[in-house]
Symmetry: C2
Subunit: 575 residues, 2 copies
Amino acid sequence: MPRILRINTKTKEYSFEDVGPYVNLGGRALTSRVINKEVPADCHPLSAENKLVFATGLLGGSTAANSGRLSVGTKSPLTGGIKESNSGGLFAHKMPKMDLLAIILEDKPAEDAPFSTIFISEDKVEFKDASDITGMDNYPAHDKLLEEYGDKLCAAMIGPAGETVRQTATIQFTDPYKRPARSAGRGGTGAVMGSKKVKAIILDPAVNNKVAAADVDAFKTARKEWVGILQGHPVTSEGLPAFGTCVLVNVINEAGALPAKNFRLGQIDHAADISGEKIAEVIESRKGKTTEGCHAGCVIQCSQQYNNAKGEYVTSGFEYETVWAFGANAMIKDIDDIAELDRICDDKGMDTIEIGNTIAIAMDGGIIPWGDGKAAIELLKKVGTGDPMGMIIGNGVTFAGHAFGVDRLPVVKNQSMPAYDPRAVKGVGVTYATSAMGADHTAGYGVTANVLGVGGTVDGHKKDGNVELSKNLQVATAAIDSMGFCLFVAFAVLDAENGVQTMADLVQSYTGNTFTADDLVNLGVNCMKDEQEFNERAGFTKMDDKLPRFFETEALPPHNVTWDIDENELQGAKA
Amino acid sequence: MPRILRINTKTKEYSFEDVGPYVNLGGRALTSRVINKEVPADCHPLSAENKLVFATGLLGGSTAANSGRLSVGTKSPLTGGIKESNSGGLFAHKMPKMDLLAIILEDKPAEDAPFSTIFISEDKVEFKDASDITGMDNYPAHDKLLEEYGDKLCAAMIGPAGETVRQTATIQFTDPYKRPARSAGRGGTGAVMGSKKVKAIILDPAVNNKVAAADVDAFKTARKEWVGILQGHPVTSEGLPAFGTCVLVNVINEAGALPAKNFRLGQIDHAADISGEKIAEVIESRKGKTTEGCHAGCVIQCSQQYNNAKGEYVTSGFEYETVWAFGANAMIKDIDDIAELDRICDDKGMDTIEIGNTIAIAMDGGIIPWGDGKAAIELLKKVGTGDPMGMIIGNGVTFAGHAFGVDRLPVVKNQSMPAYDPRAVKGVGVTYATSAMGADHTAGYGVTANVLGVGGTVDGHKKDGNVELSKNLQVATAAIDSMGFCLFVAFAVLDAENGVQTMADLVQSYTGNTFTADDLVNLGVNCMKDEQEFNERAGFTKMDDKLPRFFETEALPPHNVTWDIDENELQGAKA
């Protein structure tokens, strides 16, 4: 039976509980319900009243392809609203093998308490002294944990950014290649873990219970159908495996929707230098790997291993959004600089989107020159060291904007925008504006119909149809995140007639509970409602569901499009 | 005829206009109406769309005692809401002598444009190169302006904090003693002036038109009555003149309501060392001045001149809130250190309340030791220099809290609380919570009935009656600020049967327009409505009209009182 493990980080007490009121929930639907029901909406995100929830999806632990993603939920130190941050890695697949549906960290120790490592075994939780890895970057700290716990290590951890409660701090997770390279990236979840003085959580390598589908035959059938769907779509079977997510650099640049120079341009001249095609070429020439999965059971394999010129490992999970943030928005042309910036972000434990945008703000504010990758590297190295500049950079775009006196801040709910200009890709612009998460492409990826022609076509330059597009995608995404699927399955599902039904069949046959296509939609809708409810209680209104005014007043070249969807129209995208 | 002068800081165009729709408004009622009607509520406070309004009160330029205060209005960079910041000095009294009711700065030049000094003459506005005073502290810059424009200089100016758009930046005004010692202190008005690249505004010393009351005899009668009221009350005729506002240190400490150590205590042992009595003693021994007025026509004279041990001038306008912020909340016991901190704030152009609280946050976050005045001085010196620590300190409590990882932040709407603990002085706590300005004692000074027994008595430890008390005081204060009166007249008015009628008589006889006691109340109510309306459009809700949760959960010694007025009850204090 799946259980919920509650751990009090102050008293070090814990309890393994029945799922109780959280039955039939998983992943994001579960984390958002717990946060909405258990956390005072007006508490300070770093106070004892906030909680940090790790949840596996409804299909967690199963052999359904691409169902091993993890949801991390909390009240966000960055946005002040609810947050679900989604990660690959081994954690979500391992939890069900320990009969765990969710782990909830509660309360917090005194400010001057030392950091602990929490070791979770089958029926026991131990707090261990973490002084040997406190202050260490994620890669070396993870190496020490590997030494101590062996090759089957499955860890969640924070770097110096999380320890110093920076608002961009991630939680990093062990990937299938013994690296802490997967991130719950957005919204500062790592700062909440840091405020609770937890450096790492380790799932006992010795526990590995068998997890079986309730209806083995039905699950097998659905699973096969499912793999067919994923492998039958060109995006999930060709584009992503060949070039990773960076395949999008050229695509979005061609579309004139690649935000550059702090969202002043929609196209850059140096796209070829930072494109997926170029990166694949570099990787191959340096004997890296162009395809890897981020979690067990992945058939898409959009990750990679990027080496330096000497053939030494630098980074993986080298995503389009990362390359865009540093390469286009901060105008850094050297792909090796960008790879090093990505690695520093993983080592310090910082969101690459927020940090890349913050570097652009530092450039806009005259702190370092536009495009100067080496100067950006030096700035990032200051985070977590006690250096005041590191405090600023580590706190993201809005904070840095106030520090550097920059008033053009591409944020919604204080979270900065990813790699698609909302003026040219209005479907994703609506998502930026209305998602409870703040500006977040993964909450409703309108790029599909706006640019890629997946799931139909909606003109990204015009407002018509984009509110509806975003709403439908937001509901679908909330469901996908709740089942534990990788978001990229959506590409295939949107173009497959039997996509939604097959996902529902997988859940029903795996859990043994009736689960129809309608239930799947309701899972998404109810998840969004939990999130909206929490934010409303935290004081958010429709005035927070807006883009900054400069998107309305400044036209984006080369297509000279502006943002023109007002706050009342935007409310149509809410659940 | 009074006129409104609009100045476009980008094009350098200007126009002298009729008051038009702003007829019968003055001071705060005028600035808040202009901001509400003309500024997009969702603009960035440092963007071209924000405006900065200087307005004299309805009695501005008259000989009515204590009617020479100035209102500065804008969208606040600190709170994101509307702001009226009130100052003494010569500006408000001089404007009517140039037939000016208000000056409105609009638009803004390019980021890299140089700073200008705006010289306003009778029918002409000149932009002068300010490069000789750019980057200079207020006192030396003001001395240079004195050299250039002579002893009749009447200037508004910003220091390095305003130039670098810090969220605590003040606008400083020439006082009657040729010093830039009076501040529009709260909410970062100086940052808005800095964003518009205006270092100083100078009112032509050569223009000094005669201002006469419409009904000279009636005005004379009312004026005499008015002086009698002010001189008949012990607070305005004895307490404030003898010891300045610092007379409150001992009073509030005795009441157990003096917030100390970042609002952890309500009483301190070293109150005598920083009391008004002690300060007066030091001033006399060093041949300073214990009584001065902050503006022409003041009969209360609560300001002073504080010298160092060598007898050299250090500071004036050395207010209770300043002494409290550094002396009690940051636990700095040396009054000379506090005086130097006050001077640095005036020189850099920073709000002493916000900065004193920020120093307490730096101490709480372990950046400097509790009570270390010398370390605090070093921190303040960094503001405006390009040093990242200065960027943090200069941005106030909420910002510093996010930088230093402190989650106990005594703020409402991001503005930090002044010198009265809301748990023990609930009348002012209601004002902190509900004022459109953020935490602001001057918006509705419930200390009167809670502690001083002025205007009746309401128990400050219990909630009963305090919502009503605060609302009445908020309305009265908005009216007082709109007439141009110093807030301290309220002490006398609250205990004088003919107080309100006499103020109304003054306005009617001076302006020649019918103005009853009811009109006076409506002036206050409508002003508050403008402010609330703007904030609502900016996205504020009743969730923003709350105190931080720790006031509910932590009891304040020595009386062990907590905050217990919920958000629905609090709405009763809104207009």
